[in-house]
């Protein structure tokens, strides 16, 4: 135990502490920019690490990694932009902000981050001794079963119409299968493009399906983000909320840590799966998606606990579970640390420097954020017409960080049309995203497990344990459905729509798209088409059932929800949604002509001029500020923006292209 105290002592020397604080600062700044995360932060720090003392370098890097997921909570809750590790936080965090409770949501989020981060550090200590047997016990088959277990949560994410929920999940699974097939390497649904060869990026999907529909609603209402002109209970309430739900924090932190430890699951899924868990396990689910504080606590605790788990395979196995961990491994080589079993024996002191750094950085990051939460939450009181163009620019900026190609921008535009209609007709979007997140792992897992084990993996006791969990989860879901059905039809309190044609038309369109996907899939090799064809077939049948219900059910039924016809969407006196879609398209056209920086500037000036009228100098001021921030970011972080045609004719400095 000497190593524990010695490492803390070492770390608390002013010298190392400064590096830790530096790391925290970088992590928060990189985190605040949605779409950039640990990978960008590690890439920035790597050149400085060479030649540094091991302890200082570790403090710097771990300090950064511990806090990237803290910074990105701000855009998630305040602007509804799902930027990275805090994607699922948007679901309830943004509605809270709109109710004027941004400060409460933020401080609950940061308190959960703190607890999750500390939990992750504790897990790391526990794993010093059991990492190896643990990772060796969880084979491909168990990994696959864990994914199926996660998928079994879908039952609770289905909203008021279970059929619609399952169909949405199927659409998610199918969207997740775009790109190359694991078994053959053959590409499908890519329309011959390079962009889709690796599938649709999660960030772009989450932006299109969640963020943009919310933003468009806000634009139509034309008020402020917070609908009440007070900021509600401040940061104290949020902290109390978190501590009141300590048992939840513990459970989702465990989920996060486990996802981190198993390299196959992918750290980016932690927040979504934690969200699925909180909805599944809650007694009263009616408030989720409308500002339930538990929907903020769960993803935030999980995405911080992930780091501790993520470090386990990296440190003790030399196997990185994510891009940022792969870069961390590179940094280890640079500073002369040999990851592997030695980290638990002769290099134990370094391991404890890492653990302490993780814990201390999580605490510092959370405290700084809680202090900032109050003032920054005032942003939700700014008139939306000023914020809307800036948020639009930020959203396309975020999407572009996914693969840095025009494909990101165009898919966002397409997906946001899709998202608008999903929202309007109340198709459960969380179920769709969870299906999407799990799809690649499921397909690869099924094929690979079949190749290696056949069915023999089911003979292993650890596998049977997970099978039992799956059955429990499914059983609980079905029981709840039956009970809800007996309690009477839900949603009858809402105003009923007057027509059923639009709802039905959307379902038929989805069926046509699925039919098309089936036809396209059939032209590929057997193992390429097997998974998407089965998914598309089942989903087709599910949507057919939805369409039949829509044609026959009474108008008050949840299958027929249409927010456009009922009062659930305000601002019907304002310009329609298509006007705002046209604004987005116009923005992209400007970017295509002038490049991102100048295009964004022109867009901001034009939007504010049209929405708020004169004086022009005010619009120009916003425009210049946009240009300045984008140029500084590009210059300082070596960011590349989408280039326009202009750059081919005029020699622009690279930070203006």
């Amino acid at each position: 135990m000497d190593a524990v105290v010695l490492a803390l002592h070492e770390l608390l020397s002013i010298h190392h502490l400064l590096y830790l604080l530096g790391g925290v600062a970088v992590g928060m700044v990189v985190g605040v920019l949605p779409g950039m995360g640990g990978v960008a932060g590690m890439a920035m720090l790597l050149p400085f690490v060479y030649g540094m003392e091991k302890e200082s370098a570790l403090a710097l890097m771990i300090g950064m990694l511990a806090t990237t997921a803290t910074g990105d909570t701000f855009p998630s809750i305040l602007m509804g932009i799902p930027g990275g590790a805090s994607s699922a936080t948007v679901l309830d965090g943004f509605p809270l902000a709109r109710r004027g409770e941004a400060a409460r949501a933020l401080s609950a989020a940061f308190t959960s981050s703190l607890l999750g981060g500390v939990f992750g550090s504790v897990v790391l200590i526990g794993c010093v001794f059991v990492a190896r047997p643990l990772i060796l016990a969880i084979g491909m088959g168990e990994n696959l079963l864990l994914l199926i277990f996660a998928l079994s949560m879908i039952g609770s994410l289905t909203g008021k119409s279970p059929l619609k929920g399952l169909a949405a999940c199927g659409i998610g699974l199918l969207l997740g299968s775009v790109g190359s097939a694991p078994a053959t390497g053959e590409v499908r649904f890519t329309f011959g493009t390079v962009y889709l060869s690796d599938g649709i990026p999660l960030i772009v999907l989450a932006l299109g399906v969640f963020a943009i529909p919310e933003i468009v609603d806000l634009m139509r209402q034309g008020t402020t983000i917070a609908s009440v002109r007070k900021l509600g209970g401040g940061w104290r309430d949020g902290m109390i909320d978190t501590f009141r739900h300590w048992w939840l924090v513990l459970r989702v932190s465990t989920i996060g840590a486990v996802i981190g430890i198993l390299p196959g699951l992918g750290a980016s899924t932690a927040d979504w799966l934690a969200y699925g868990h909180v909805v599944q396990s809650a007694r009263d689910r009616s408030k989720f998606g409308q500002g339930d504080i538990r929907g903020v606590i769960a993803p935030e605790a999980a995405n911080h606990a992930v780091r501790g788990g993520d470090l386990v395979p990296t440190l003790f196995f030399g196997v990185p579970g994510s891009g940022s961990m792969a870069l961390l491994l590179g940094a280890f080589i640079l500073i002369g640390i040999d990851p592997g079993i030695r980290m638990a024996t002769t290099e134990l002191d370094l391991t404890f420097v890492i653990i302490w750094s993780l814990a201390i950085a999580s605490v510092i990051g959370a405290i700084i954020s809680i202090i900032l939460a109050g003032p920054i939450a005032k942003l939700t009181l700014v008139r939306y017409a000023y914020l809307a163009p800036l948020i639009t620019v930020l959203m396309f900026f975020t999407a572009y960080q996914a693969t840095q190609s025009w494909g990101d921008l165009l898919s966002l535009l397409l997906l946001c049309v899709f998202g608008l209609y999903l929202k309007r007709f109340d198709w459960p979007r969380p179920a769709l995203v969870v299906g999407f997140v799990l799809s690649p792992g499921l397909e690869a897992g099924i094929y690979q497990t079949a190749q290696v084990y056949g069915f023999s993996f089911l003979e292993r006791p650890q596998a049977l344990l997970i099978v039992a969990l799956i059955l429990l989860s499914l059983g609980a879901g079905i029981l709840r459905l039956v009970r809800e059905r007996r309690a009477g039809p839900a949603g009858s309190d809402a105003e009923a729509p007057s027509r059923r044609a639009p709802q039905l038309a959307f379902s038929l369109l989805l069926m046509a798209l699925l039919g098309y996907a089936l036809v396209v899939a059939m032209q590929t090799a057997y193992l390429t088409r097997l998974f998407p064809a089965i998914v598309a077939g089942i989903t087709f049948v599910l949507i057919l059932a939805v369409a039949v219900q829509q044609a026959l059910a009474p108008l008050g039924s949840p299958v027929l929800t249409d927010h456009e016809q009922t009062g659930a969407e305000d601002g019907r006196d304002r310009p329609g949604k298509l006007v705002y879609l046209a604004w987005f398209a116009a923005f992209l056209a400007l970017v295509a002509l002038f490049g991102f920086s100048i295009g964004a500037t022109l867009f901001v000036v034009a939007f504010i001029s049209v929405e708020c009228g004169p004086p022009l100098w005010r619009s120009a001021l916003f425009g210049i500020a946009t240009l300045g921030v984008l140029a500084i970011l590009s210059y300082g972080l070596y960011l590349e923006y989408p280039r326009g045609i202009l750059a081919d004719y005029v020699a622009l400095p690279w930070w203006l292209q």
Partner: protein, 371 residues
């Protein structure tokens, strides 16, 4: 031919002149008209940040930058996607031929080019290699397979040989092909990332695997010492005379051609030998290359060649740096300029007969169609 000979002569002359200039001035102010002061050079890396090719780029970039005239900054930009095609196309469309744009190519960028993937729009043969990296590849088995050396591969009976791979047309080809030529019935599990392979190998889910030397030394050698992994054979290494022999980093185990001859009783020959030669060069002699775009002026190319040469010498001289380099780019020295070009050419130039054979083999074995 005459063109490159002309260039070669010109370069020799220029090198002589610059050598004299160096002697006269006592400083390294060569290629005087090329100056990158204050410039920002972009190195496109067509894989995700953190992948092994990316780490080698991040290792080389700052070292190369400080040896270029004017000490510019080299920024790494990851343009990952579609097996390096996204990065290659981006470079083809955007790179300015003035020395401020570079690309690092990987075997998958070369293979997709070789296999005429319809998504490839880059002309790899026109780019100018300035540095090449080579690294031996070692094939090993899990002790659970029950063989003590490579000779045991031929009488495995019906014991399943399971190997993790990403795709038949990627880097795994370099190991799938020799195992098949030896007559080993491998059951490949496709779609695996390299990071997932190592724990799977330790769990015994895969009983045969391979690694480039740097990863082999770090991760597998401890297992060999602990008795859970058995080194089988290397893909070999080409010596200064151009002959393929045992890999000097693992001299105790046979190389593939040697093993083939021992097992089959005759050396590998015919179109399969021609296919093998190119595949081998791709996987060992030209695993990575850094290139300038087509049309880059000769003085810029020379400035780069000089900087790379300087870097190679400096790495050889400094034991600490050499140790670092072994981890990131392998223990073999980088090649500069024309040697790098030669290695890359032998990797991407399949003989027509060799290519036809490989195309047929891919279809036969893995039902994969290439152009």
């Amino acid at each position: 031919m005459t063109k490159s000979a002309h260039h070669g002569a010109g370069r020799l002359l220029r090198r002589l002149v610059s050598a004299c200039a160096c002697l006269a001035l006592g400083s390294a102010a060569a290629a005087a008209d090329v100056d990158f002061s204050g410039k920002r050079i972009q190195l496109i890396v067509p894989v995700a940040a953190g992948a092994s090719a990316d780490l080698s780029a991040r290792f080389v970039a700052p070292l190369l930058a400080e040896r270029l005239p004017g000490k510019p900054t080299i920024i790494i930009r990851n343009v990952a996607g579609a097996g390096s095609i996204a990065g290659g196309n981006e470079f083809q469309n955007r790179a300015r031929p003035d020395g401020t744009d570079l690309i690092l190519v990987t075997p998958s960028a070369m293979l997709n080019y070789v296999f005429h993937d319809p998504r490839v729009h880059y002309k790899l043969n026109e780019w100018i290699p300035i540095a090449g990296m080579s690294q031996g590849m070692i094939v090993y088995s899990n002790a659970s397979l029950g063989i003590k050396d490579a000779a045991g591969l031929v009488d495995l009976g019906d014991k399943p040989v399971v190997m993790a791979a990403n795709s038949a047309t990627g880097i795994d080809l370099g190991v799938l092909l020799p195992l098949d030529l030896l007559g080993v019935a491998v059951k490949p599990v496709f779609g695996m990332n390299r990071g997932e392979v190592y724990p799977g190998f330790q769990r015994g889910e895969f009983n045969i695997s391979f690694d480039a030397y740097a990863a082999y030394r770090q991760e597998i050698l401890p297992l060999v010492e602990g008795g859970t992994a058995v080194p089988l054979f290397s893909l070999g290494y080409t010596d200064a005379s151009g002959a393929v022999g045992r890999d000097p980093t693992v001299p105790d185990i046979p190389h593939f051609l040697e093993l083939y001859e021992k097992v089959k009783g005759h050396p590998l020959a015919g179109p399969e030998r021609e296919a093998w030669d190119a595949v081998y060069n791709l996987n060992v002699m030209s695993t990575r290359a850094i290139l300038l775009p087509a049309g880059t002026p000769q003085d810029v190319v020379d400035a780069y060649a000089k900087a790379v040469k300087q870097l190679v010498d400096d790495i050889q001289k400094d034991p600490a740096l050499r140790e670092q380099a072994a981890n990131f780019i392998g223990p073999q020295p980088m090649t500069a300029g024309e040697a790098a070009a030669r290695n890359m050419k032998s990797a991407v130039d399949f003989s027509p007969a060799g290519y036809a054979w490989l195309k047929d083999w891919l279809k036969r074995r893995y039902d994969v169609t290439v152009q």
